[in-house]
Subunit: 304 residues, 2 copies
Amino acid sequence: MSLLVVGTVAFDAIETPFQKTEKIIGGSGTYIGLSASFFYKPIHLVSIVGSDFPTETLQYFNRKGIDTEGVEVKKGKKSFFWSGKYHMDMNSRDTLVTDLNVLAEFDPVLPEKYSNPEFVMLGNIDPHLQIKVIQQLRKRPKLIAMDTMNFWMDQTPEALKEVLTMVDLLIVNDEEARQLSGEYSLIKAARVIQKMGPKQIVIKKGEHGALLFQGATVFFAPALPLEEVFDPTGAGDVFAGGFMGYLSSTNNRSFTNMKRAVVYGSAMASFCVEKFGPQRLTEIRRPTIQKRVSEFVDLAKFNI
Amino acid sequence: MSLLVVGTVAFDAIETPFQKTEKIIGGSGTYIGLSASFFYKPIHLVSIVGSDFPTETLQYFNRKGIDTEGVEVKKGKKSFFWSGKYHMDMNSRDTLVTDLNVLAEFDPVLPEKYSNPEFVMLGNIDPHLQIKVIQQLRKRPKLIAMDTMNFWMDQTPEALKEVLTMVDLLIVNDEEARQLSGEYSLIKAARVIQKMGPKQIVIKKGEHGALLFQGATVFFAPALPLEEVFDPTGAGDVFAGGFMGYLSSTNNRSFTNMKRAVVYGSAMASFCVEKFGPQRLTEIRRPTIQKRVSEFVDLAKFNI
């Protein structure tokens, strides 16, 4: 029993209208792993870093139940670095720097103990690598979920199409769903994407909540209206981590349980945006999360 | 017992990326009244039209339980006319023509039987006129709700501030709430607006649902994800009409009941956008509405 997480472990430098950071820890694998670790252990993390990446951070991951045997450390090389600047509305951003560094050589090899997970979350990386990970699995997991982004739709559309046929669930945001499907209506977009492979689709709409599709059934999950979004970096990955962590911990793929998982994912994302980078994830505890989930219940509850 | 509705009864010409209309019936009073008429009778409508306005339409209103004694017919004058063109995303539009015509002379005088309503919905008109209507009420209604728009915030800010102190509930969209409050966060915006007068605020977010605020309590209502939005004209007014019609029919201003009213309003709006102008409102029946409301229940239901 394990949750396999593939994604980047990296450095980010973030600028918002309010403040800016120096290099801080980031990467989709970091956010997904930390978020999922509140719900489920062990998490088997597959990634790559340079020798500039702090050992203490990997040790911190381990203490959180994140196994880092699958995180390759490239001696004498630098970790992936991304720098971005958010616009005033916090909904859009400009990428200032993308230094691939070790990511250019990423060739994920699953350690033996990683090869039989029950749940798999493929973070947003080159779809060729997502395929490579799936091909190393010894048996079909209960659920394979993946994220992707516009870059791969433009650059590697064939590989993206192929990996979509291999997964059960796609987690993307509204703009990505629109680009991937060529449909503006999210209902139509989901239907088109379902034909590409994944039976279930989560479309994240940021402050407007999220939609979960399975067949013709839809669930509309609210987002907590926030006074302030301090830093949106990683919120989508934290959503995915909470979602997959909750699913893994309950070991239940029913639509009813997936709806709960969307709410847990949304709750985790609502914490993430409260501080820079993954900072808030290092502060919260399980009761804080449970309290936040209750707020979601109260927020959306009505009876006719 | 009555629901007093003040708003325009007018002609619209609408162009969408898909189709365009000649002059059709429109106006906030039309949309609010027709929508509310599914829930509650009598509706006392206050408006003004020219002699070009079809008598059959006013008779149709009467058959729907909308009293039109308060609709002044100006002989030899033309009705208010608005023409607009929607952009591809259907979320924004350009106004092509605004012919005020009789609206420039609108000076609402309530017929005697209109002067003691239990519920009042002030559609989006000059706040001076909204004040004038309130001043003619013989006693304090159970609930006075109002709509407004950016135009009045720019042109008549003082009158708008005054009428806001006289009402219980404000229904606006997200952009209007932001402009009125000067706050981007809708949570902060609602708090600022509450200090201006209305204890309750509904912020409509179109395809992203609606938020209902009362004190520090928030309700997040979903919107039905639609395959196609054919014509958004009037959807906001139809929301308000369904909301106020439902509240009037249940005669219950509790927050729990207001949440239901938001769902009924959202259901009504989801019909409105399916065809041009108010067309769809002339086709649906109460069981169709109840079925749509059940879809909202299913859409948003989860248990933790």
